[in-house]
């Protein structure tokens, strides 16, 4: 019993310490004060300011757009890579997997820098000094960040799959492409999905690659693309987190909380619509 109490105390103590900064921001998002630590009475003023701040809204919009587009690209590329690699000869697969491992172990900053020097070099020497940095270079950076993890998420699903499924589909009349869609894809969908979610997370959270590879574009127009990360970084370099960003933390926290709850509840849902349809079909007779 004592052991259990000690254990729980330790767990909750560490949890509390971990959440203090976030909780403090959340608490002080409900008061209109410049600095945390001073309480000017309960109010939603900061929430109003948040939504009026064009700067923040643009950053949020950019972040979401980049996250979705880069995650879709990374998921498609990584999944195709994993499926193709799975069916390739052992040697080619080993080469592919070793290269895939490089961005996984490599430091983000080294990767970002290598992309930048390449883009600069190509811009100077092939496009006559043109500045290549734009939404597209940023997108490439984010895809490289995420695609290897998609590959690593899909690969085990392929390995667990019964290799005869593909052949069974062919045997039952599928063309090779149909067999991939109808037999292989449904098997790896969980891996593809978790790879996609991971890609979104990596993109939302990224600072280094964005700061290195961004150019003008998206909602920022002619200015450099700002995401939440780069905007916050620029602000906290000069002083404390601006008051109107505290509500942003609250909102992000709530969204994450909802997603977590949704994921843990999703396991229990089973509704068989199909069987009802079939029964109807026979009742008509």
């Amino acid at each position: 019993m004592v052991k259990k109490i000690l254990g729980y105390s330790y767990i909750y103590l560490i949890l509390l310490l971990m959440y203090i900064p976030i909780l403090v921001l959340i608490v002080f998002s409900f008061t209109n004060a410049t600095y945390i630590g001073t309480w000017n009475g309960f109010s939603f003023d900061l929430y109003g300011k948040l939504f009026q701040s064009e700067e923040i809204m643009i950053a949020v919009g950019n972040t979401v757009i980049i996250a979705i587009i880069s995650a879709v690209c990374a998921t498609v590329l990584g999944t195709l890579g994993a499926v193709g690699g799975f069916y390739a000869k052992r040697r080619s697969r080993a080469i592919l997997e070793n290269i895939n491992q490089i961005p996984v172990v490599n430091a983000e900053i080294v990767m970002a820098l290598s992309l930048v020097v390449m883009f600069v070099f190509i811009g100077n020497n092939i496009f006559g000094g043109a500045n290549l940095f734009s939404f597209w270079t940023l997108l490439v950076g984010h895809i490289i960040l995420a695609a290897p993890f998609v590959y690593l998420n899909v690969k085990p699903k392929l390995q667990q799959m019964d290799p005869a499924l593909y052949e069974a589909a062919l045997d039952l009349g599928c063309s090779p492409r149909q067999a991939l869609n109808k037999a292989v894809l449904p098997e790896i969908i969980p891996g593809v999905f978790s790879g996609f979610m991971l890609s979104i997370t990596l993109s939302l959270d990224d600072f280094i690659v964005t700061a290195f590879t961004r150019g003008s574009g998206l909602l920022s127009g002619a200015a450099n693309i700002e995401t939440i990360s780069t905007l916050v970084q620029a602000k906290i370099k000069k002083g404390p987190i601006p008051p109107e960003m505290r509500p942003l933390t609250t909102i992000i926290f709530l969204i994450v909380l909802l997603v977590v709850i949704f994921i843990s509840l999703r396991r229990n849902k089973t509704i068989n619509v199909k069987s009802m349809k079939r029964r109807k079909l026979r009742e008509k007779e």
Binding site: P21, I36, G85, A107, E108, S114, I144, I236, P240
Partner: protein, 265 residues
């Protein structure tokens, strides 16, 4: 000749993508590291790096911070993972999710919040840069330690632990002779998740020490910001070499582990 579809061809787009944006850029880094601003071949960056005390200091300081951060995270995280892997403490995975959840909140925002709270408490980067940076690092990397350790602990061979008890081990011996050796692969991968990223981190030391502490990542970033491609490129290569070495050191463990799994299949 007619093109015949084969499943293995599906990996070609990804393969080309990796070649184009992973392999080739690394060669560009090497190119920049060994040329001067006019594109002539030179060892300048190499010589400067190893003769400037400033740069060597940054390297040593980064290694120290990384090591310390790894150790602190492991010390805090190991007992938590062990407790979480015990169904008595963690019935429905919710606690694990709670530990992982901070990872999903923008880390720059979290870092800023940590800094602001520490300033409020009087531990500001101006007066206590080392403590503030360490706290920030541990805050950020703790979840990365807990997750791999937790998954390894879940797979602990319970019958081996029972066998150890049966053979007369006391609690301490059960830990040192059975639980700890079994969790070594988890410790290795947890350390991998912390060590290199700490070295190359930029936002955390920059924010929490208010620019006073420069780690390897900051150094590369500053070089980049000041258009010093060549010295930044060389530092990136140093980083790559360190990564390669750490991969080689830990490889033995992971390979053995994979071999074991293959054998049980």
């Amino acid at each position: 000749m007619k093109f015949r579809f084969q499943r293995k061809y599906l990996c070609i787009p990804y393969f080309l993508f990796l070649i184009l944006f992973v392999i080739i850029p690394i060669f560009f880094i090497i190119y920049y590291a060994f040329t001067d601003s006019n594109g002539n071949f030179t060892f300048d960056a190499f010589v400067t790096f190893f003769t400037t005390t400033n740069k060597i200091n940054v390297l040593v300081q980064s290694l120290l911070f990384s090591t310390l951060n790894t150790i602190v995270c492991l010390i805090i995280g190991y007992p938590i993972s062990y407790l979480l892997s015990n169904p008595k403490f963690n019935k429905n995975y919710v606690l694990v999710l709670l530990f992982v959840m901070p990872m999903w909140i923008n880390f720059v925002l979290r870092t800023g919040a940590t800094r602001d709270v520490l300033t409020w408490l009087g531990i500001n980067g101006g007066s206590h840069p080392y403590i503030a940076t360490m706290i920030g690092l541990v805050y950020n990397y703790l979840p990365f330690v807990i997750l791999p350790l937790y998954t390894t602990m879940l797979k602990l061979d319970k019958s081996q632990i029972e066998a150890a008890i049966d053979l007369g081990c006391n609690r301490v011996q059960v830990f040192t002779k059975s639980i700890f050796p079994q969790s070594v692969p988890g410790i290795i991968s947890a350390a991998q998740m912390v060590f290199m990223p700490t070295m190359s981190s930029y936002v955390i030391p920059e924010t929490l020490s208010e620019g006073k502490i420069v780690l390897f990542g900051n150094s590369i970033y500053l070089g980049f910001a000041n258009n010093q491609w060549n010295s930044s490129g060389f530092m990136a290569i140093v980083m790559l070499v360190i990564i390669a070495i750490s991969m080689l050191v830990t490889r033995n463990f992971t390979e053995k582990d994979e071999g074991k799994e293959a054998a049980t299949w």
